[in-house]
Symmetry: C2
């Protein structure tokens, strides 16, 4: 899978321009952050850091890619030296990031890249897409898991994800966010996530009778058997499952009124002495419907969530951006910001300090009660192009981090509705002062 | 990129079950279709067929994948022969599909797979995800392009797509739907789509003055130069661009009130004698905002659309399903359907007949005024595992197909709002009769 070329063309025209302007050695610092929370969200769970780093570690252009780029009209005036430069280009910079599974808030850098400007510029597109997608799904998963109030949630979303590849990444992020596993086999193999799944409606249809299909599945799966009982008629399916009996892990409902059906199915199973047989529910579920089922005390033991989870259906877009905040040239250090209406950003490299009841975004060199009362969230992940933190792929630890961090947030931020008291994120005096100066200098220039 | 294993676990447990039940030779027909139109949509544009076929052509499991699957608890009871079978498994079946870019409606098969049951079952997850995602984006693109009323639209969405890989596929589907090109370089290389892009805000920030950044870009890009003028102050940026003058293809606005700013910028450019210099607009655009800008006669010549397009933001999920409709066993042919409440499906392989003012879904062997007055939409794409239609990757033809087909639909279906008169889709008498019999036979069984 070619990846360096998986970028926006303007990254390459800018790269050619930086090269032509003699800026190859200038060191840029870019920060990736979210402008604002998506609808119905009180926090975000940072995710996708592992794939971001893997991309930077293997960053390079193939000859075929360079030949293609060279043939583009926009790069007709670029010098042959630029393409030689591109051919040998690797990522040699530093990366700082919050740990996978950290709750983050608007304006807080999730990831900071400090590298020679071309190396830092080209990855923008890939990093934004990878981190914002997984962050959306990890966040959604944490909401669904919270709504399930202790009942396990499994990701079933690949078939509705935005491409099969997105499905595997969604499975990963859903696990970080608190799901117990996924139906996605590739994600199981690649990320070590538990995989779940037994049979679909087509299985039932493929046999001349529902009864035969149930018996055949039981023969294959033994104690792992989960019978999907709604292919023809849910209650009839439940009675059939009860008559077949053990070994039987559970039954699955995938349509109809799940609150009412789950109660009737529970009664049928209990009457047959199958009190330990579980009921799984799936079918266009999301955190709101699960919260209702839980509130109605529907006897559902396990939830499967698909479309809503893998697409973050109610908030499928994240306003993540990647902004230049510092440039180190032979002339010195310059902090940079964008001053556009509604889209202004703050210059200077930053650190996020998490206190018990608020965050402070300061300059990266500040030390705001470090240690005792606050935690600095951005940690070094790559230095001079080399990974310096082996724990980046530890998803169990990331999942645990989410659980612990959310438990520390005020309960109202865990509500499915938008809280009237958002988590306070303040800016340090030094950061504000630096940005006042940046703004003044540009107003002076324009006057 | 492993792909056969990019599936739901239940496909593999069912495969093991079909194998154990001696059903390997049974030939299944599955149909991929959409249950209902997403919000605000009057039609869907079928897309992703090329990737679906490419997946089936290269379908196979690696030894590593088989070893992983073999170790899963759910497959503990599967026979060693099953894993040998999996190792040699290739797709040898037939595929029928509508042509890429065809408008389709609920219930109409987009793709039909007829193959030995295991070969037909395992691809479900991949096919659903690939086709539904690209269909969503191609549909969204067609709406955006319609709203732009002749002004070109470029896809800028990769950074907000659900993974970088989804971004490349979104670029492809957006082109099918009518966009003139994309910012995604990989999509340009892989699919032959025109690529667009010049510079970001970081380019402007990377120079000590906006003026220097503009001059440097002009030097590199010549007649392709597009100056992004809103980094600090849009009107000041416009005056600067005007003072720099030709060669200059255009300027880009990415923030603020685009209707008002585009008029002021147009006036600044015109006053400087730059009547031919174009204005491009971007920044959280969608079909609704573009329609407003066009209605307000904002002098925008070209639109760049990102998040909304690449995520199909207002309709990010598609209720696509893949259902078993026929099984051929040694005992004969059996048509199958799912009878669940709200999720019932129609059995028997189908064909879609498009007439001038309605569609009829009939059985695949029916001939409903073929030729003269209707077109049969499903055509053979693969036979016995081999591609039989080389035009599947011809995106220009697909784009042209969209344009012509939409021009034939009633104008109200092209509206951005839901039409009160949906396109009529009828079922043939024979199809209805077959399904009455399927339902009767199951009611008899349950009685």
């Amino acid at each position: 899978m070619p990846e360096a070329i998986l970028t926006d063309l303007y990254q390459l025209t800018m790269a050619a321009g930086y090269f032509a302007a003699g800026k190859v050695q200038e060191k840029a610092t870019f920060e990736l952050f979210v402008r604002q929370l998506p609808p119905q969200r009180n926090y975000l769970i940072a995710s996708g850091i592992q794939q971001a780093v893997a991309y930077l570690e293997s960053f390079c252009f193939s000859d075929e890619e360079i030949a293609y780029v060279r043939g583009l009209p926009q790069l007709r005036h670029a010098s042959p030296d630029f393409f030689d430069y591109l051919r040998q280009l690797r990522f040699t910079g530093d990366v700082f990031a919050v740990a996978e599974g950290t709750p983050i808030f608007p304006g807080e850098p999730i990831l900071t890249v400090r590298a020679p400007i071309i190396e830092a510029q080209i990855p923008e597109t890939y990093l934004l897409s990878m981190i914002s997608f997984q962050t959306l799904v990890a966040t959604k998963a944490s909401r669904v898991v919270h709504a399930a109030a202790g009942r396990p949630v499994v990701d079933f979303g690949t078939r509705r994800a935005h491409s099969p590849q997105a499905g595997a990444l969604a499975a990963r992020a859903a696990y970080v966010g608190g799901c117990v596993g996924t139906s996605n086999v590739l994600a199981g193999m690649r990320y070590g996530i538990p995989v779940f799944g037994t049979a679909a409606h087509s299985w039932t249809q493929a046999f001349s009778s529902e009864q035969e299909s149930f018996r055949q599945l039981q023969q294959l799966l033994g104690e792992h058997t989960v019978l999907l009982i709604d292919t023809y008629d849910t209650l009839r399916g439940a009675r059939l499952a009860a008559s077949i009996g053990r070994p039987l892990w559970g039954v699955r409902l995938d349509s109809g009124d799940l609150a009412s059906l789950s109660r009737q199915v529970r009664a049928i199973l209990d009457q047959a002495g199958l009190q330990d047989v579980k009921i799984m529910a799936s079918g266009d579920l999301n955190e709101y419907k699960i919260q209702q089922l839980v509130a109605a005390q529907a006897p559902v033991d396990l939830f499967g969530v698909g479309t809503d989870l893998a697409t973050s259906l109610d908030a499928p877009g994240l306003s993540a951006v990647y902004k230049l905040v510092e440039l180190r040239t032979s002339a010195g250090v310059r902090f940079t910001a964008k001053l556009s209406d509604h889209k202004a950003t703050y210059g200077a490299p930053k650190q996020v300090f998490r206190f018990a009841d608020h965050d402070v975004i300061g300059c990266s060199w500040e030390c705001l009660s470090c240690g005792e009362t606050s935690e600095a969230l951005l940690r070094p992940l790559m230095l001079s192009g080399k990974l310096v933190d082996d724990s980046v792929g530890d998803l169990r630890r990331a999942q645990e981090r989410v659980r612990k961090a959310l438990a520390k947030l005020p309960a109202e931020l865990l509500s499915l509705e938008v809280s009237s008291r958002p988590w306070p994120v303040n800016l340090s005096q030094e950061l504000l002062e630096i940005n006042r100066k940046i703004r003044d200098s540009h107003q002076g220039e324009g006057a």
